[in-house]
């Protein structure tokens, strides 16, 4: 059963620092220029514990994806701070933020964004190649294990173009887990899938993350998916409700 969504007036009790995979405080973000400039995030504060699955829900344009990209260090906030594994990252250089992404964050997007010219095995190995912690044999073995875990162990040498939509999203999940990151950020991971595949993908994602003690933050429109998360954080007009 998911926990009740915390209200802004009753902030959740602060978790011990060791449990926190990710934290942000007073995040502000503006998008657009001139008259089109929009205050997308208005002082958002958020924490994510290891082993917990969080759903950020809200109408389109409320800022939930923008928040996700900021937490993933894919974008820079206009104000506020972000900590990854208790390390302040919001004011670091691009190189440091990129290195932090490689080691600590895995992404799953609505569109799987697999490299079409590469096999599923090679796609899963890509993050590992960049991190460079494992040798070739170890990378191969881990990639196979991850593909087995998502039910695609017999399709390691298929090109991404030779898989169905659901299978490609499963490969994306395996890829996001490749470097055993502390945090998984998923932006509408089931948005492009039918109900059957949506359930499979969500179960896979949450099961593997909990197994490995990872914090999962999912942005979703799907109330069914949101209802199956540990914590639901509704958002409207750039603030958590």
């Amino acid at each position: 059963m998911p926990e009740a969504s915390p209200t802004p007036s009753a902030s959740p009790a602060p978790a011990p620092a060791a449990d926190l995979a990710l934290r942000c405080q007073n995040i502000h973000r503006f998008l657009g220029i001139g008259e089109g400039r929009v205050h997308v995030l208005r002082g958002v504060t958020f924490e994510a514990r290891r082993g917990q699955v969080y759903a950020v829900v809200g109408p389109s344009g409320c800022g939930k994806s923008t928040l996700l990209y900021l937490l993933g260090l894919l974008d820079r906030q206009d104000d506020g701070d972000i900590w990854i594994n208790d390390r302040l990252m919001s004011d670091r250089s691009d190189g440091e933020r990129t290195a932090a992404r490689a080691a600590n964050i895995g992404f799953v997007f609505q569109f799987h964004f697999l490299m079409q010219e590469f096999t599923t095995l090679e796609n899963v190995m890509m993050p590992m190649r960049k991190l460079g912690r494992l040798d070739e044999a170890a990378m191969h073995a881990r990639a196979r294990d991850l593909l087995n875990a998502v039910g695609l162990g017999d399709k390691t040498h298929r090109l991404a173009t030779q898989l169905s939509g659901g299978e490609q999203q499963r490969v994306a999940i395996a890829r996001s887990l490749a470097n055993a990151p502390a945090i998984i950020l998923a932006d509408e991971p089931t948005g492009n899938l039918d109900q059957h595949n949506s359930g499979i993908v969500f179960d896979l994602l949450t099961h593997l993350a909990k197994e490995n003690g990872q914090a999962v933050i999912i942005v979703t429109h799907n109330p069914e998916i949101a209802g199956r998360c540990d914590v639901v954080r509704p958002m409207r007009d750039g603030v958590f409700l």
């Binding site: 994806s65 990209y69 993050p127």
Partner: protein, 399 residues
């Protein structure tokens, strides 16, 4: 498309260099093989302005030199052997040949024409020219062994309907006596002004015919390093007091024509290279636009900006490497094919096929040109790719 641009650019560069420099080099080879690197002809005498010591009209035989007014050129070389010995002291001089020339009338049973006799010592002449390789019929040994043998240009022989072994008559300028000669061999340089005009005789026979027992008309000089001819001729002129004309100066007009041709070809190839570079730039820029999502995903995985730009630079590098090698092969095949194209040229040199010049330098220069073009075309797209902000890209694709 980028690959084909590089292949064509490299191939075209190689072919144009091989053909333009081919004709030019062949022309230079012909010039050096006929008239030598340096020709020494006239004695230079300074002309002095002087006055009678006792003033004008004094009748004094004592003249005071006032200043050097100019130079006077006295035709011919009265002491050719002395000059030859002096020339051998110049380190770059490989050979010297004394040549005695004069106008004659040649008569065959068919017709007569005005030509020029060139009296030579064959062995000396072979050191300063390519006469041995210019023989197209007959044998030089016959010319060497027999004093009354002659070498005729093939064109002259054709006009007079003469061939090897035939006899003809020569009458020197103002002489009435006609002498008989037999043709030992026919030569062909390809230079019309030579092949139609020159009759080579042994020096002794030429002296007798022209009634010039001493002296020489000019000295023909060969050099070890022909590119130093202008410097050497200046030095010779200053040191020995004889006019010395380098081949570069003698053939300046034609060399300028070839130079203009080379520049024109270089401009054409440069334009093509520029177009090829723009095409490659366009292709890479399009690839960057098409791959923005992939770039964003790679950045989200932890690939740095440098990694992204290197992907594009490596891509350009691989295309460059393959394109250059294939371009070399294309250039070589086309060059070889052109070298077998029949083309009949006479006038400034003789050839019956297209002339090409094989040189590794052409391939090296083509590679450098392609490298510069690829670097210029790929750097901007590579940097543009590296500068993409992953959040902006992914935000744009998330609906």
């Amino acid at each position: 498309m980028s690959l084909s641009c590089i292949v064509l650019g490299v191939g075209l560069f190689v072919v144009t260099q091989a053909t333009t420099s081919g004709f030019e080099q062949f022309f230079i080879k012909t010039i050096l093989g006929t008239n030598g690197a340096i020709r020494i002809e006239d004695q230079i005498q300074d002309t002095l302005r002087s006055m009678e010591a006792g003033g004008r009209g004094s009748g004094s035989n004592f003249h005071v030199a006032l200043r050097t007014e100019g130079k006077k050129y006295v035709e011919g070389i009265p002491e050719p052997q002395m000059l030859t010995d002096a020339l051998r002291h110049f380190e770059n001089v490989a050979g010297v040949s004394q040549v005695l020339t004069g106008p004659v009338i040649i008569r065959s049973s068919f017709k007569s024409e005005s030509v020029r006799v060139y009296g030579i010592n064959l062995d000396d002449q072979l050191r300063v020219s390519d006469l041995e390789n210019q023989i197209v019929q007959g044998h030089l040994s016959d010319f060497r062994d027999q004093p009354n043998r002659a070498l005729l240009g093939r064109e002259m022989a054709d006009r007079l309907q003469l061939s090897v072994g035939d006899t003809f008559m020569l009458t020197a300028g103002d002489q009435t006596e006609a002498r008989h000669y037999r043709i030992a061999a026919l030569y062909e340089t390809g230079v019309t002004d030579i092949d139609r005009v020159r009759v080579y005789l042994n020096m002794g026979e030429a002296r007798s015919l022209l009634k010039k027992p001493t002296g020489a008309t000019f000295l023909q000089v060969s050099l070890y390093d022909v590119n130093r001819a202008p410097t050497d001729s200046t030095q010779i002129q200053m040191t020995l007091g004889y006019s010395a004309a380098s081949w570069q100066m003698r053939e300046k007009t034609w060399l300028e024509v070839f130079r203009a041709l080379r520049i024109s070809t270089a401009v054409t190839v440069s334009v093509f290279t520029l177009i090829a570079g723009l095409a490659m730039f366009n292709t890479l820029a399009m690839i960057v636009m098409e791959k923005t999502k992939e770039i964003a995903i790679l950045r989200s995985m932890g690939y740095t900006r440098r990694d992204i730009s290197q992907i594009f630079l490596w891509q350009a590098g691989i295309v460059l490497a393959i394109g250059t090698v294939v371009g070399w092969m294309l250039g070589a095949v086309v060059t070889y094919s052109l070298s077998n194209v029949p083309i009949h040229i006479r006038g400034i040199f003789a050839t019956d096929t297209f002339i090409v010049r094989w040189s590794l330098w052409h391939y090296f220069a083509a590679t450098i040109t392609a490298l510069i073009m690829v670097m210029a075309a790929s750097l901007i797209p590579a940097r543009r790719a590296a500068r993409l902000e992953p959040g902006d890209v992914i935000r744009g694709t998330a609906q």
